[in-house]
Symmetry: C2
Subunit: 231 residues, 2 copies
Amino acid sequence: MQRYFVASKEENVFYPSKEDLHHIYHVMRMKEGDLVEVVYEEELYLGKIKDNGIILEKKLSEENKTSNVILIIPVLKEAKMDFILQKATELGVYGIYPFKSERSVVKTDGKDDKKIERWRKIVKEASEQSKRVTIPKIPKIFSLQELKDLDGNKIFCSTTEKEKNVKKYLTKHKKYDKLNIVVGPEGGLSKKEEAFLIDNGFIPVSLGPFIMRVETVPIFILSIISYESME
Amino acid sequence: MQRYFVASKEENVFYPSKEDLHHIYHVMRMKEGDLVEVVYEEELYLGKIKDNGIILEKKLSEENKTSNVILIIPVLKEAKMDFILQKATELGVYGIYPFKSERSVVKTDGKDDKKIERWRKIVKEASEQSKRVTIPKIPKIFSLQELKDLDGNKIFCSTTEKEKNVKKYLTKHKKYDKLNIVVGPEGGLSKKEEAFLIDNGFIPVSLGPFIMRVETVPIFILSIISYESME
């Protein structure tokens, strides 16, 4: 069943956005009386389409599969960024925090708001498709300096770290703890950036022997975290 | 340094394909005397470009990072297929065996050879980029029936299996053993296909709570296998 995230509710009627109404009537070609799933304030409901609203039929229960992982990635070119946003959403990421790294090729000057709006749209749609009840948080574009204020456990993917691989870290890390993970841009983080992160409590980890493209790294990490939490 | 897989060698000179010569002189704009890495019969060499050949300078040693995993995937639409071929190569897959599944939308009638040729080109290029010394094997397009002749350990990703997750399987599986993994198409394997695989020694495993797109599944699996083999 099609799922929609809805931000507005009055009494027992949900009011989807214009874009979602267009999707309901013109893309999915649904009619009044058809049933859809509605997520409102991170709760799942069954609803029936009527006019420009969706009437609440009943509350559904669903396990929240969102992980406790915040993925911190450089601002990348559109195709790679979109890919990571979609796949990270699929794999249950809690938040995606873009940051400006020295070797990011993409400049965001003055366009931060437009970019963020676009990214939020992508993760909303990916959340609907992968049947989440939460949408990954994308608060803003961070500077490196602002990353030091994050709470929880903190690691970064290092291309120079040889000793400590990510398995050594994750097998000690408790799965319900919050985990912030910084992924570097193509060409890696600069020495200065790595030093700054280490000074601020981030632990460097290696990801094993493969030479991965930057957009593969987040999928790799979220996959192994999901794996590590299996019982 | 740029790496090329070369199939032809006479005395101490490697002869790259026409396509690779074009890449050397016109894409990379290299000149005679420039150094490149050459992989010949799964061994790595340093070579110096001269005319239409590459002169062997010295043998290099490099760890072979290829896993023992054969990924068995339905024939998918071009974009998804290309994506899986590239990412699976990046993550060290030993072989990629496409097979015809009931719910594959893509028909290959009469075009098998052309398709395979194209796929082999993609994994060769991905192997060069990710600095492998082996190229993933793509022997042919298999029928479901032919999969029963594969040797080694055999599993398939099941959307109905609830009890046995992939972690339970992998933690028991010895990492140097050969492992065949079947991934189903969008909509999953049919009941008949699942029954056939079980009858022929394939074990169903679940991949955890996420609803993944078909092209995400191979990356997920190869990531967790790499993770499980970390020490």
